[in-house]
Amino acid sequence: MMFYTLVRKDLLLEFRAKEIIIPMFAFGLAIIMIFALSFNASQAINHAFSPGLLWIIILFISSLGLNRMFVLEKEFDAFTLTLAAPVDRGIIFLSKAISGTILLLIAEILIIPPFIIFMNLTIPSDWHIMVLILLIGDLGIMSIGAIVSGLSMRAKLSEMLLPILFFPLVSPHIIACVKSTNYWFKGLSFINWQFWIFLMISFVLVFFLLGFMIFEYITEE
């Protein structure tokens, strides 16, 4: 119940302020345009590089979204309202990771069609597997991101600290996302690349558990 209230508040904040998805979309679109125009490559080369490019775009826009999500908590010292309430900090972490994932998925829904068009890609028919990869990938990114954002929130240079801590921590997970997307794109049977999916799931589980346990300590002054 409390979890639902917190997620609803985060989504309502975005619905009212429109400060997260629109900048994520605009930034993502700008990177797609840069990639598409500067590479000017053949379809085969685009196919080979697109999984990596897609996850780089997702990584960049997620860091932008995470930053905004926590800035909205800092304005008017609003986060104290949640911190002072009788709510377990672990639940606050879970709500942040899940609402972040929902917002990132919405941004991806907006970004992936132009990515496919501008990179001139042909999508395999079993696209629902890619939805699963995106979902697990986003959960991993946002669980790591919520921990790092909570950690850097009270820091003076939080905008700088977030990418410095976030990118190295999330790299192994992003590599697994790129590998999974690449094998799916090549049409290989799942059995051949299930290791990468299990690695992604492991990341999600480890960081969700870690965040749930330590968010209490990282949010205190």
């Binding site: 409390m2 209230t5 917190l6 508040k9 309502l12 904040l13 009212r16 302020a17 400060e19 909205l72 304005e75 008017f76 010292d77 609003a78 104290t80 309202l81 949640t82 911190l83 002072a84 309430a85 009788p86 709510v87 377990d88 900090r89 205190e220 002054e221």
Partner: protein, 227 residues
């Protein structure tokens, strides 16, 4: 009800609070006085579990608020010096959310009625980022009126309020006194503290200089220390 034992707090290796200990009993209304930067707000943030003390324990109904589960803190309401509400949300949305996370489901009508008493019902759907500071301060009283609390920590209760706002605020405080509510206010208003509060706690030089019932205190003594 609330027992504070040997609290220490420092920021960037500079001690702010040292060996702070006192007990709060049911129905106490305590004024926390002290010069600017002496640590009043820091102490309130520690009591409200926003800030972690370096040392010491805080017991609320015999439960250590820093070790027990969050539910052990039910009944504690912290209203800080800053607004503590979401600027992009409306007054109505903010109050609904605040009530929900404090475990109270208020109907819209009761929230609107409270906002009406404070003269804010005509602005209830506006994002609060366009509210004046006085209106934002009034919203804190609406919050305290709607949430069921046993102990209230309120930093600067009369900041930014005009005469009408101050009258409404005082009416709420009078109501809480009548209901024997327990409250701690961090304030600079020594006169108001002596008139309304039952106890006065004066912070000076990182420690509690004195903790006395207000009817035993001479205002001149306070003014002399605060100068």
């Amino acid at each position: 009800m609330y027992t504070i034992n040997n609290i220490y707090k420092s920021f960037y290796h500079r001690a702010i609070l040292e060996d702070i200990s006192f007990k709060v009993n049911q129905g106490d209304m305590i004024a926390l006085l002290g010069k600017n930067g002496i640590g009043k707000s820091t102490l309130l943030r520690i009591l409200g579990k926003i800030s972690q003390p370096d040392k010491g324990t805080i017991l609320y109904n015999d439960a250590n608020i820093y070790k027990e589960k969050a539910i052990a803190r039910k009944g504690i309401l912290y209203l800080g010096h800053d607004v503590g509400l979401y600027p992009s949300l409306s007054a109505l949305d903010n109050l609904k959310f605040a009530c929900a996370i404090h475990g109270k489901k208020n109907k819209d009508s009761s929230i609107i009625s409270t906002l009406n008493q404070l003269g804010l019902s005509n602005r209830m759907n506006d994002q609060i980022q366009i509210f004046s500071k006085g209106m934002l301060q009034s919203l804190k009283y609406a919050l305290a009126d709607l949430i069921e609390w046993n102990i209230l920590f309120f930093d600067e209760p009369f900041s930014y309020l005009d005469l009408k706002g101050r009258k409404s605020a005082q009416d709420y405080i009078d109501k809480w006194i009548e209901n024997s509510k327990t409250m701690i206010f961090a304030t600079h208003d020594a006169q108001w503290s002596l008139l309304y509060c039952s106890r006065l706690l004066l912070l000076d030089n990182r420690k509690i200089l004195f903790d006395q019932k207000t009817n035993d205190i001479d205002i001149n003594k306070i003014v002399k220390i605060l100068r």
